[in-house]
Amino acid sequence: MSDLGALFIRSAFIENMPLTLFLGLCTFLALSRRPGTAVGLGVAVIAVMGVTVPLNHLIYRFVLAPGAWTWAGLPDLDLSYLRLLTFIGVISAAVQLVEMILDRTFPALFTTFGVFLSLLAVHCAILGGSLFMADRNYGLAESTVFGLGAGTGFAVAVIMLSAIRRRLAYADMPDGLQGLGIAFILTGMMSLGFATFAQVAQP
C-alpha cells in the first residue's frame, strides 16, 4: 500500500507535470491569470486524468501491447504503435463524457469551465500521463494512482501560480516582462522549489 502512496507523492510533487516534466504548459500559462479559472482547470485535469489513465491502461494491456492477443493464438502481434491514436481517441471521448456529466449534474460548474474542457482533449499533460503509463508498464492500481497524482500535481501548481500572478497584477515591472515574461520566471522559481522534493526520502 505504501508503494501506491509513494507513487502518488512522486507523480504529484517530485515529477510534477508542468514544473518538472514541462507538460501542459500551454494551458498552465494561458489560464493562470485568475485563481478562479485556475481552480476550474485543475479540477478538470484531475477528473480527466483520473479517468483516462486507467482506461488507457486497460486498452493498452488487452488490445495493443505485445502479447496481448496470445489468447487468440497471435502471440507475436504488436499493435503498440497505434497507442498514440488510441489514447487520443479515448481522451477525446472521456472529455466529451465529463462535459456531459457536468452539464447534467453541476450546470453552474459547467458554465464556469466553458471552453477549457474541450481544450483538454489535446492537452499535453493528459496525453503525456497515458504515454508514461504505457512506457513504465504500470498495473491498473498504479495507473489510477498515477493519473490522480499527476492531475493533483498539475492542479496544485496552476493554482499556486495563479495566486502569485494575481498579486503581481499590482506590481510595477518592466514592460517587456509583463504577462508572459514574468509568468515564465515565476514558473522557473516554482520549479526550483519543487526540485527540493527530489531529496525527500521515500520508504
Partner: protein, 267 residues
C-alpha cells in the same frame, strides 16, 4: 440504373453538402483508412531496421565496456586461443542452458514460467521478478577456462530502471569494469553513474570477502575498503540503488551460483 463506377461514386459523394450524414461518415472512413494504411505501412517496413539498431546499440555498448577494461584489448589481440563468446545461462541451475540460444531468448522470456517471482525480502533491487535465463559473455583462454565474464544486471534507480553490465575477471572475485546501458537518473547528480571517472573506480574492486558474503558496494562517503567505491555527492538514492543492484545480482539470487561454478571449473 447508372453504372456503379467507383470514380462516379466518389464524385457524387464529394458533391454532397458537407453536413450530410452520409458524407460525414464516408469522409471519416476514408481518412481513417488512409491514415491506418500509412501508419501500418511505415511501421512494418521500418521494423527490421529498428531491430537491427537495437542490436547494434547493444553491441556498441559491449565493445565500449571491453575497450575500457585495462589490458583486455591486448589480451584479445594476442594469443589466438582467446575469444569472446556469448551463451544463455540458466540462473537456477548455474550452467549454460542447453536448448536456448541468444536468438530464441526473447521468445523464452515472453513465457512467464521462465521468471521467478521475488518476495519483498529477496527483492532488494526492486525488480519484481527475476528472469531465469540470461545472456552473458565469456572470454575463455586457450586452455578453455574462463578468464572474464560480462554479466547484464539491472535494478530500479531513483528515476527509473537502471541497466548495466559488469565485467568480472580472475577468480571471479575481481571487478574488471562496469558500464551503464541505460538510466533515468537526474543529470548532474545520479546521472553521474554514467561518467567514466566514477565507473573506472570499479576496476580491481573485490566482490566477496572470506566468509563469502557480497561486499561490493557504493560507500556512504569516500571508499574505505577494497570492496567500495566513492559515493556520488547529492545522489543518495542513486548510490543506494546501485549498491542494492550489485548485491542482488552478485548474490545467491543472481549470478552468485554461476560465479561459484566458474570458479570451481565446472563451467
Amino acid at each position: 440504373m447508372a453504372e456503379m463506377n467507383p470514380l462516379r461514386l466518389w464524385r457524387q459523394m464529394l458533391a454532397l453538402p458537407n453536413e450530410s450524414k452520409n458524407k460525414t461518415i464516408a469522409i471519416a472512413f476514408v481518412i481513417s483508412a488512409i491514415c491506418a494504411v500509412m501508419v501500418t505501412g511505415a511501421t512494418v517496413i521500418l521494423r527490421p531496421i529498428q531491430a537491427q539498431n537495437r542490436a547494434m546499440e547493444q553491441q556498441a555498448r559491449l565493445e565500449a565496456l571491453l575497450a575500457e577494461i585495462p589490458g583486455l584489448s591486448q589480451l584479445l589481440a594476442g594469443s589466438d586461443g582467446t575469444s569472446l563468446t556469448t551463451v544463455v545461462v540458466d540462473l537456477q541451475r548455474a550452467r549454460a542452458s542447453p536448448n536456448v540460444t541468444p536468438e530464441t531468448l526473447p521468445t523464452e522470456l515472453a513465457d512467464s514460467r521462465n521468471w521467478t517471482q521475488l518476495t519483498p525480502q529477496e527483492d532488494i533491487a526492486n525488480l519484481g521478478s527475476r528472469a531465469d535465463l540470461k545472456q552473458i559473455y565469456l572470454l575463455r583462454n586457450a586452455e578453455g577456462s574462463v578468464e572474464l565474464v560480462i554479466l547484464p544486471i539491472s535494478g530500479t534507480g531513483y528515476g527509473g530502471p537502471i541497466e548495466a553490465m559488469i565485467a568480472i575477471e580472475g577468480e571471479m572475485n575481481t571487478v574488471a569494469g562496469l558500464t551503464i546501458l541505460s538510466h533515468n537518473e537526474t543529470p548532474g547528480l545520479g546521472g553521474r553513474i554514467d561518467e567514466t571517472a566514477w565507473r573506472q573506480q570499479f576496476a580491481s574492486k573485490q566482490i566477496r570477502d572470506e566468509t563469502g558474503s557480497v561486499r561490493l558496494a557504493v560507500a556512504r562517503g569516500a571508499a574505505a575498503t577494497e570492496f567500495e567505491v566513492d559515493a556520488i555527492t547529492g545522489a543518495t538514492r542513486t548510490n543506494s540503488a546501485m549498491t542494492r543492484m550489485l548485491q542482488f545480482w552478485l548474490g545467491p539470487l543472481g549470478y552468485g551460483p554461476l560465479l561459484d561454478a566458474i570458479r570451481r571449473g565446472d563451467f
